[in-house]
Subunit: 340 residues, 2 copies
Amino acid sequence: MQKIPNMESFARVSGISRPTVSKYFHDPDSVRKSTRAKIEQALKTYDYSPNIYAINQNRRLTKTIGIVVPYLADPFFAEMARNIEQRCIDAGFSPLLFSSHGRTELETDILRSLRSLKPAGVLLAPLGRSSDRDLLESFCEDVPTVLFDANVEGVGEAFVGSDNFQSIPLMVEYLCRTGEPPCFFEMAPVNPNANKRRRAYTEAMMGLGHQPHIVHVDGDGWAFEEIGHAEGIRAIEGRRFATNTVLCSNDRLAIGLLAAAYEKGLRVGRGHGCAMRIAGHDDHPFSRFTCPSLTTVAQDYEAISDHSVEALFAVIEASEEDRQRTETLFPGTLVMRTSA
Amino acid sequence: MQKIPNMESFARVSGISRPTVSKYFHDPDSVRKSTRAKIEQALKTYDYSPNIYAINQNRRLTKTIGIVVPYLADPFFAEMARNIEQRCIDAGFSPLLFSSHGRTELETDILRSLRSLKPAGVLLAPLGRSSDRDLLESFCEDVPTVLFDANVEGVGEAFVGSDNFQSIPLMVEYLCRTGEPPCFFEMAPVNPNANKRRRAYTEAMMGLGHQPHIVHVDGDGWAFEEIGHAEGIRAIEGRRFATNTVLCSNDRLAIGLLAAAYEKGLRVGRGHGCAMRIAGHDDHPFSRFTCPSLTTVAQDYEAISDHSVEALFAVIEASEEDRQRTETLFPGTLVMRTSA
DNA sequence: CCGAAATATTTACGCGGGTAAAATTACAAT
DNA sequence: ATTGTAATTTTACCCGCGTAAATATTTCGG
C-alpha cells in the first residue's frame, strides 16, 4: 500500500481539495456523502494518516487528555488509570498516562511538560502533602483539571474521591459489633486521605463509647507493604496493639501487617483459635488473595473514575464562567472476608 | 512573569535571531557563551518554552520514546516501566507509557497511534500469542523497536528477557534436592514465556530422572490470581497434584494457589506439619508479603530494563545497515523464602 | 423550473519552528 | 595588520495542517 506523505497529496489522489479532507478527518459526517465515499475509498487504496503534530500545532485545544497518578506500581491506581483511559478513548480523546512515582520533582516535571502539550484536560491524582501547591494552582488555571483520589483544597475544577467519613465508621462499627474494638494502624500520611481516616476512626470510636488507640509508625514513601511488615513486627513484639483487632489505614499496609502476623505465628481471622483480626481499607485488587483474605472497605473505583471523567468533560465543554468547583464523594461498601 | 507566545518574539526580546534561539533549545552548548548568557537571562525575565507540536512536526525523528506493556495492573510491568521511563528521561527523551490491558485491539490501536507520533524508538513488551504479528512486523520496519519480556521471533531490532531455561531448572533442582519433585502448575499460555517454562520444567525433571507432572488449568486473560485461586481449589479437591510440591508458571498464579491452599486448610511451607510446598517464578513485588512468603526465582528487572533501553539507544544511533537482531537473556536467581 | 437558504468546497493565509546555505564573526597564526 | 579557517549567526524557504472568508453547489419550497 502506497504511503502518502501529506494531506495535500492525499487530497489530490482522492480528487478533493485539502481543506475538505481536513474537515473529513475532524468529523467524517461533516462532508457530503459522496465526498466521504471518495475519501474512504482513497483511504483503502493509499496509506495515509494526518500528522499529529501538525494537527495540534494550530489548534487551540487538542484532543489529548493527561492522566497523572502518584504511583503506578500500586494496582489501585493502575486499575483506575485503565478505567479512565478507556472512557477517554471512547469519547474520542487520546489519553496520556503519567506516574509521579511518589516523587515531587517528577510530579512537577509531568505538569510542566503536560502544560506545553496543551491538553484538553487533565485528570490528576496528586501526591497530596508533598505536591507543589503553587505549581498546581497555576497549572489548573491554564488547563482544565479534575482532581481525584486525593484532594487539594480549592485546586482544580472538581474533586472526586471516596467518603472516608462514611467508610471508616462503617468498618469501625462492624468491628466493634463483632469483637474487640479496633486499634488504628497508620504510617506517616502521604496525602489528606490518611489524615481523614485517622480522624474518622477517632470520631467513630468515641461515638461508640470506645477509647481510640492509634498505632502510628514511621516510614516514608510508597513502599506501604514493607512498612506494614517491618513496623508491624515491631509493634507486635512491643505489644503496641491495645486490642486484638487492627484497622489499617489502607490495604497495602494491612497486607504488610498480615505478613508480620504470620511470621510472628499469630493466626489472623475471626474464628476460634485466632489471635488477631486485621482489616484494611480500599479493596486493593490483591486483597482477595491474601491469607486470610482481607476484610476491607471497597472504594467504588468505577464510580470514582467514571465520575472524574464526566466531570472533566463537563468542564471542557462548559465555558469559563461556570467554574463552580464541585466535590463528589462516593460511599464505600463493607467487604467481609476472613481476616476480620 | 510575562508570557511570550513564540520563538520569534522571544528572540526579539533577547536580542538574538530566531534560528540561533532554536539552536540553543536543541543544545545550549552549541551557541556562543555570550549568546547563551543573553538567552538564559531572557528566560529568567520572560516565560517562554517552545511549542512541542511545532518542534516535532518538522523534525524527522522526535525525542519521544514509546513504552508499551501488556498489562499495567501487574506490578511487575509497572516496576519495569518505571525503570525504563527514568532511563529515557535521563537520556533526554520523553517517554510515553501505554498499556494494552491484555487486549489485542488495544495493542494494535497503540501501535497505530504510536506510529503517527514518529517516536525515536519504542520499547515493547508484546502481548505475545495474541499480538497481531503482521502489524508488529510492519511497525518495526517504520520504528526502531526493542522487544522485552516476551519475544516474537524475528520481530524488532532486539529482544531482552530472562532465561527461562536457566531459571526453571534452577528452581526444579532446588525443589528436588530439598523435598519431593515438583508438579508444574500452569494455565493457558498468554505468551511464549509460559511455553518455554513448561518445556524447561519437563527437561529439567527428565534430566534429574523424575517423571514430569503438568497440571494444566483453563482460564483466559490476565487475572492470574483469580485463575490460580479458583482452579487451584479444584485441583486440590480433585487431587490433581501428584506430589506435595507445586512449581507455578509465575508468581501471580502462585499467589492464587497460595490462597486456595489456605482456604482448603493446607499449611504451606517446608517445615514439619506442612502439607505442601509452593514455588513461583518472577519475584513479583508482592511475593515477599504473601503468607507464607513465596519462594521464587527473581528475574533481574533492572538488568532487563536497563539493557532494553541501551539496546534501543544503540539502534537509534546506529545506521540502518547494522540491524543485526540480538537476543539477550538474563539469568534468574533463586529467592528462598518460606513457601518452599 | 426558479431562487433563496443551507451546505459544501475552495481560496488564501497563518501557525511555530526546522534547517540548508549564505554571511558574518571570532580567533589563531603569520 | 593580514589572512585563513572554523564557529556562529542570518537569510530564506520549507513543513503539514487549521481555519476564516469567499465561492460554488445542493436542496427545496413554490
